[in-house]
């Protein structure tokens, strides 16, 4: 299953689900990474971590590790 951590800068995708087992999963849902939302990976810091995504009209930075619990479809 592809995750948001695998996107390349400028790539867009639709959130499919967020892995419930990840300790940040609830906070990720709260900041807007809910199923059906379109996200775009804007840019990442050095080593691509953390990663900045566009979500619901905002830009939110999350760690790569956290992006890897966001399941996506293109």
């Amino acid at each position: 299953m592809k995750t948001a951590a695998e996107l390349k800068p400028g790539e867009k995708a639709i959130v499919k689900d967020v892995d419930n087992d990840h300790p940040s999963s609830h906070r990720l849902l709260e900041v807007g990474f809910t199923p059906g939302q379109e996200i775009e990976y804007i840019s990442g810091a050095v080593f691509g971590d953390p990663m900045a995504f566009s979500i619901r009209g905002s830009i939110v930075a999350i760690r790569k590790n956290e992006a890897s619990c966001i399941l996506i479809k293109k």
Partner: protein
């Protein structure tokens, strides 16, 4: 007990309005408007969570208290501090349940911010929504119908502009009309749902919010035809053309800028440039300003002596009180400048990006990207810096940040370094001194990071908690900083420093004055062939040489001998407990600097060059001992105010004691190695 509660409830109390909102939603700006910035800041009992409380400005003629609490993302807490904020929102330990809640909602990020509104309404609160940042929404090409939003949410919605105050009057009118509407007897319940249901209810809320968003947002350009087209209609049209590409997107300009400013390499280069400019700017501007403050207080202190003569009370006022106040205020220019620049960077949106860029390297040593701002503030003063660690949600990371902040090279160290560098390097080539100062700063950053990485291995013991480490940070849209808002915030930070560090520094300064003035307050000296000012200075020096402070200095002298210092340096080191920069003026006292009125630094330097270790003709200040002193100041935990604030913020004496023992221990050992190592190498 039961009747007591009833009496409390029926007793007429001042209504309470709570201000709630997500971070960056304009909540604090609104609070400043309503309170007229005349508020007091208090901690929730037994915690470090802070709230501000104020009466609503009398010109608005509403008799109510307004309470500003920390920004929250949802009513489901993710950290212990959030838990306190949220449960206090339901029932504040002192003020009870709010009669009305004003929620600030960034209209340009409507759906994310409506989540909190929905949760508050669902919990049964009496809610008014204050829509902010409409300028950004307009820039995105959208507008919003407050009326429709209010209808769909079932609460009152008002637009406000934090910059101009537009809409505030309307907001207050609505507050006045609705504050009596407190739904008496209505249950206000904390949401306590099991994990799987929590996710379901959250997704359900978001589904409702999405349908609201589609109804109330409409394209601005379409208004031209006098027919507002809402997002739902646009979507209908667009879905056909371009399925899945119809959502509210972030500000296009910000996305464009972020592709450069957050770029793997360019972003790092930009970050380095921004930091370099920040520090260069601060030092260039601050040092002449600090000189002015310094000279002003020296002047005032001289006047005090000339008015009251060389009496004990004249000395108390000039040396104890005026110099004491001076040592508090001399750092203000640097602190104000650093916070001004930090404020401008924050308001422009860059600071959050900076935190993101350094998150990875910092997380390697147990810190967090959010440690970045406190660490940066630490270069001005550890006190506001330690208070700024509250934004770090993970307790372990927060404690580790507090732990290393005192190692940042604060502005009080600067005068000490300046003096020692002037001693070490010839005045002919000032650039050598500049390089040396930069090297000291880089050295202090590097060593603090090394210490952090070592302590990180043990930091569960330090905080007693190893929560999950996370970095989820909204990057606000880039915008031109609002200068007046930034200035207000800067003054706020500066006031915090004056209020928290000021009294401690002042009291200590008076105690130190006492220790250096008594018991031999009017020593007899040989006055033949000496000018009045020389006599005065020699009296001062003789007095200090026979004072309680010198006794103390001599008491610790055995510990100082191995690092090449004597009791006179010891006295000055004791004096640094008030503030590190007091070291310079106290050296001037202990080394009988007689040419007062002239360039004080040069006279201290001359005295330092001539000083010998008592009883020998071995020079006291050598390259080795001066370098050693610099090392000592890089590490030693000398500042009482810092110890006090660490105690307060961590809730126990454990951390400040560890810091005191560990940092001063490291300082001592490294100074020992530096001094004796350099001597072994023949450097003297």
């Amino acid at each position: 007990m039961h009747t007591d509660q009833k009496i409390k409830k029926t007793k007429k109390r001042t209504p309470l309005i709570s201000l709630v909102g997500q971070p960056n939603s304009g909540k604090t700006t609104l609070f400043n408007f309503l309170s007229g910035k005349n508020y007091k800041t208090v901690n929730y009992p037994g915690s470090t969570v802070e709230y501000s409380i104020s009466k609503i400005l009398s010109k608005y003629s509403i008799d109510a208290n307004i309470l500003d609490s920390p920004g929250i993302i949802s009513l489901v807490p993710a950290s212990p501090d959030e838990k306190i904020s949220i449960s206090s929102l339901h029932s504040h330990p002192e003020f009870g349940t709010p009669d009305l809640i004003i929620v600030t909602v960034d209209s340009s990020q409507l759906s994310r911010h409506l989540l909190l509104v929905k949760q508050l309404i669902d919990s049964g609160f009496n809610v008014i929504v204050a829509l902010t940042m409409k300028d950004i929404l307009h820039k995105k090409g959208f507008d919003i119908s407050e009326k429709r939003l209010g209808e769909m949410l079932g609460c009152i919605v008002v637009s406000v502009d934090g910059k101009t105050g537009k809409g505030i009057d309307n907001l207050l009118k609505q507050v006045n009309d609705n504050i009596g509407n407190a739904k008496i007897g209505r249950e206000i319940s904390l949401q306590r749902l099991p994990h799987n249901l929590r996710k379901e209810s959250l997704l359900e809320s978001y589904r409702e919010i999405e349908s609201i968003e589609k109804e109330v947002l409409y394209s601005k350009s379409s208004l031209l035809n006098n027919e507002p087209v809402n997002l739902a209609k646009i979507n209908e049209q667009l879905v056909v053309l371009n399925p899945g590409r119809t959502q509210n997107l972030p500000d296009a300009q910000s996305m464009k800028l972020d592709r450069i400013l957050l770029h793997k390499y360019w972003g790092l280069a930009m970050f380095a440039i921004v930091m370099t400019i920040t520090f260069t700017f601060i030092f260039w501007l601050a040092s002449p300003l600090m000189d002015i403050v310094n000279e002003g207080f020296t002047f005032a202190s001289d006047i005090a002596v000339s008015l009251m003569g060389d009496t004990w009370y004249g000395n108390l006022i000039s040396e104890g009180i005026i110099s004491g106040v001076g040592s508090v205020l001399v750092f203000l220019p640097q602190i104000v400048l650093l916070f001004l620049i930090l404020g401008l960077l924050e308001d422009s949106g860059y600071l959050a990006r900076g935190a993101m860029i350094v998150d990875k390297p910092l997380s390697k040593i147990g810190l967090n990207g959010k440690s970045f701002v406190p660490m940066l503030s630490g270069f001005a003063c550890a006190i506001p810096a330690i208070m700024a660690t509250r934004t770090i949600t993970n307790k372990r990371e927060r404690f580790l940040t507090i732990f290393i902040v005192p190692l940042m090279s604060c502005s009080a160290r600067l005068p000490v370094y300046a003096l020692l560098i002037a001693f070490l390097f010839p005045p002919e080539s000032p650039w050598l001194g500049g390089i040396a100062l930069t090297a000291i700063y880089i050295f202090s950053i590097a060593s603090s990071l090394i210490i952090a990485s070592i302590v990180n291995k043990f930091s569960t013991k330090l905080s007693g908690d190893s929560g999950h480490s996370s970095f989820i940070l909204e990057l606000p849209a880039y915008r031109k900083p609002k200068f007046n808002v930034v200035v207000m915030k800067t003054l706020d930070n500066a006031m915090q420093y004056v209020k928290k560090a000021g009294p401690i520094i002042l009291y200590l300064s008076i105690i130190l004055w006492f220790l250096t003035y008594f018991p031999n307050h009017s020593p007899g000296i040989d006055t033949t062939g000496k000018s009045d000012s020389e006599i005065a200075e020699l009296t001062n020096s003789e007095r200090i040489a026979t004072s309680y402070a010198s006794e103390l200095g001599k008491f610790i002298e055995p510990a100082l001998k191995p690092i090449g210092m004597d009791w006179r340096v010891g006295v000055s080191l004791i004096a640094t407990l008030a503030a590190r920069e007091v070291f310079v003026s106290s050296l001037a006292l202990t080394f009988k600097v007689t040419e007062s009125g002239e360039d004080i630094q040069n006279s201290i330097l001359n005295s330092m060059r001539n000083a010998t270790i008592e009883g020998t003709d071995q020079k006291l200040f050598t390259t080795a001992t001066s370098a050693g002193l610099i090392i000592f100041f890089v590490f030693a935990m000398q500042c009482i105010s810092t110890i006090a604030i660490v105690r307060k913020e961590t809730g126990s004496w454990k951390m400040p004691v560890i810091q005191l023992v560990m940092f001063t221990g490291i300082a001592y050992v490294l100074t020992f190695i530096t001094v004796n190592g350099l001597r072994l190498l023949g450097v003297n």
